[in-house]
Amino acid sequence: MEDVDEIVREFLVESYENLDQLDRDLVALEESPGSRPLLSSIFRTIHTIKGTSGFLAFGRLERVAHVGENLLVELRDGRRSMDQPTTTVLLRLTDTVREILAAIEADGTEGDVAIDAVVEAVEAVRDGRVVVVAEPVAAAVAAPVALAEPVVVQPAAVITEKPVVPTQPTRVAPPAPAVEHAPDEVGVLRSAADTSIRVDVDLLDALMRQVGELVLARNQISRLASGTDDVDLTRSAQRLNLIAGELQEGVMKTRMQTIEHVWSKMPRIVRDLAAACGREVQLEMTGGDTELDRGLLEAVKDPLTHLVRNAVDHGIEPAEVRLAAGKAARGVLTLRAYHAGGQVVVEVADDGRGIDPERVAAKAVEKGLRTPDQLATVSHAEMLQLLFLPGFSTAESVTNVSGRGVGMDVVRTKVEAIGGTVDVDSTVGSGTVWRLRIPLTLAIMPALTVECAGDLYAVPQVNLLELVALDGQRSGSGIEYVHAAPVYRLRGELLPLVSLASVLGVDEDRPGTSPTEGSSVIAVVQADHQRFGLLVDRVLNTEEIVVKPLSARLKSIGGYAGATVLGDGRVALILDVQAIARRALVGELEQVSSEAARRAHEAAARAAQMEQVLVVGIGGGRRVAMPLASVARLEHVRASQVELVGGREVVQYRGTILPLARLDRVLGAYGDELGEELLVVVYSRAGRSVGLVVHEIVDIVDDDMARHSDIEDHGLVGSTVLGERVTELLDVRTAILAADSAFYDTPATTDELDGLAGPVVHPDLVGAAR
């Protein structure tokens, strides 16, 4: 880069920024073809590149930009409208510009980057030699009711307010309001440029380091001041405290960038990927203004991209498959970021096919990563964790995009390297959510100092849930044992215990005591989803510590996340709770958690032996019982009031619309037809209701669950004898889903529609209104 002089360097920096903006604008323009502000922005960028490249004598760049400008002029003058081939060729143009810029960056010349192909392609589009393929997504396939206000990504600096989103598909942005934005935008653009300043990143890092040292010195002085009676010293120390705190905050802010930086690349990636894989994907991004330390942002960029690629490639099904499953043809990929509990949470969610834990487990066995025995007692949630094993990939075929079996473990490693966690939640058929939790900053964090076998250690506050004091005098002191594993009963649940002294191998320093004796405090910590109790001797206090990196050979031990210097000058190791969990809990945790689950199950079973049930007749002499607790009320409804909506029966009920399911049909009973009056058992939950139509209400009785026997039949969970008659036990959930398949979904939709329309779920309808 020494050969490249200052002007060229500036040109490169600005151009790279502009190109990113260009990508975003082009994809956004494709979504809203009539948007004049977008068009102007794109035109300006290309024009600027053309002009500057001419001035700097970069001939190829100038030619490419010129050709692009010609195409854009046609768009601007309305002689052409934005369609897929046009967008594609323009995106290709920006890629070529990037290539040329990279060549310039490398040695100051354009090299011999090939531009003829791109120029030819642009000319082809201009001459209309490219057949315009009708955009399938622009058709009137109305989107299902949006879960949250979809924020179409707008360049943050340009539009300062979210456009008003009407409750209809937002893809077609009406051109009129967009034009009104134009004068505002230009004004906003100028002022944004004035209020910010470019700072060398190294300078910021140096500042950050110095502030770290200041915090250490501040801690020392605070400690000294608290031990003295000198009033002046105390006061000065307090002032120093305040100032250091504010300075720290300020400097950390300089290093903060919004996650928008990462998300700005996503529209293009998703668009290209969806096209390559033959999927239709709508990208929604919220929380772009969530701030994150730039070092962490860099680290999280690749993992997020990988997750997004996975979601498009493997998560979201092709349109036909989705339609067949009753979903909208266009899959929704949601990126969400928000602050929670001192961390930044980033979610990548898709409404695709979900991940089948059984398939994951089978794949793990197939790849020799686990034996069938190991997986026999493992819960579904734990099966999903197998995805993070190195060498794992459930892709049927290794596509160019993903599925090379190096994915998730690398994602997890990278995220954990910055002190974060990655987790997955999935429902087969409905979708998957990947959740990344990242600490707000690397260098300074609050931690709890604890003592173990004479040494001091720091437990990061983000991992800490609560502290439990053990009464050492009482026999047993509350610690129980599952085989040889110590556990503690915390508010009814079993908490596996880990003796820090044992994990660190220092318990020989306390001879004559078992690892659990001598410890007097349990620090309840959480790493990933594992909760456990760390046994320590003493808890000292919480303070802000500066994380100092450990030398590589100590890092490889795995149990330490770093070191810090405490207020009194002593060095304390910072515990890596995740690593400790992994070291101490594998197998043990599974044992304890399955034991805990078993105990909980037994306890629940014992408690619920007797239950009140409602017995109904569904015709043909069959009787069915359902738990009374689940019933809201019984209603009479005239058969003539039943209406058909989208092939489902509904009835107007209490101001809303009640979906109905006829129990006789659900359970395959074909008895006599019902008369004028219908008996409906109404079940309500979280503001939603369904009605189960029955023939007769028989009785309410007490049911001894111990007398249940299993039945393998659709819609039933078993049978029993009630009132001398064999009575079937209804699978309430199946029956409800027969009436309203979205009943158990999160009730976000009903908030918007309450009072207006009923939650009738059908792919082509957004609801029903009276």
């Binding site: 660190l504 100092k548 030398s551 210097v565 060095v571």
Partner: protein
């Protein structure tokens, strides 16, 4: 001519090239690192920096230090970061020429061979030249 910072370990005199040495001082309070290799003596606070400390006696396979004796530290630069080496006593800076240098004898234990580069023949005895990078490699 080269200059070496010298120190004693278990009665023998060792030396490290002076350009690699940052400082030599009395040992600080060490925080032990459980689960670390036995050559790691712990971490010390050196003017706010957390520095890894290696026990050279262990590294060279010598007998352990009698607990009462306080070691001294020689802080060297390895791979851009400071590492402190625990020694018995710090000696003078000695200047020697290539003429007095001898490569290690073939009878030297194989494990120690990478650590000891050779010896300079001084009037008072032998000065064993230590390879800093190897010594700090633990």
């Amino acid at each position: 001519m080269s200059q070496y910072v010298t120190f004693t370990l278990d009665g023998s005199l060792y030396g490290i090239d002076v350009v690699r040495v940052q400082e030599a001082l009395r040992s600080h309070t060490r925080t032990r690192v459980p689960l670390a290799p036995p050559t790691v003596a712990g971490l010390v606070n050196l003017r706010g920096q957390v520095v890894l400390t290696i026990d050279l006696r262990t590294r060279l396979g010598l007998a352990g230090r009698a607990d009462l004796a306080e070691p001294m530290m020689v802080v060297v630069q390895v791979d851009g970061e400071p590492v402190s080496l625990l020694v018995d006593e710090i000696g003078d800076v000695v200047e020697v020429g290539p003429g007095s240098f001898e490569t290690p004898p073939d009878t030297l234990d194989a494990t120690l061979r990478p650590l000891i580069l050779g010896a300079h023949k001084l009037e008072a005895g032998l000065l064993l030249v230590l390879d800093v990078d190897q010594a700090a490699a633990a």
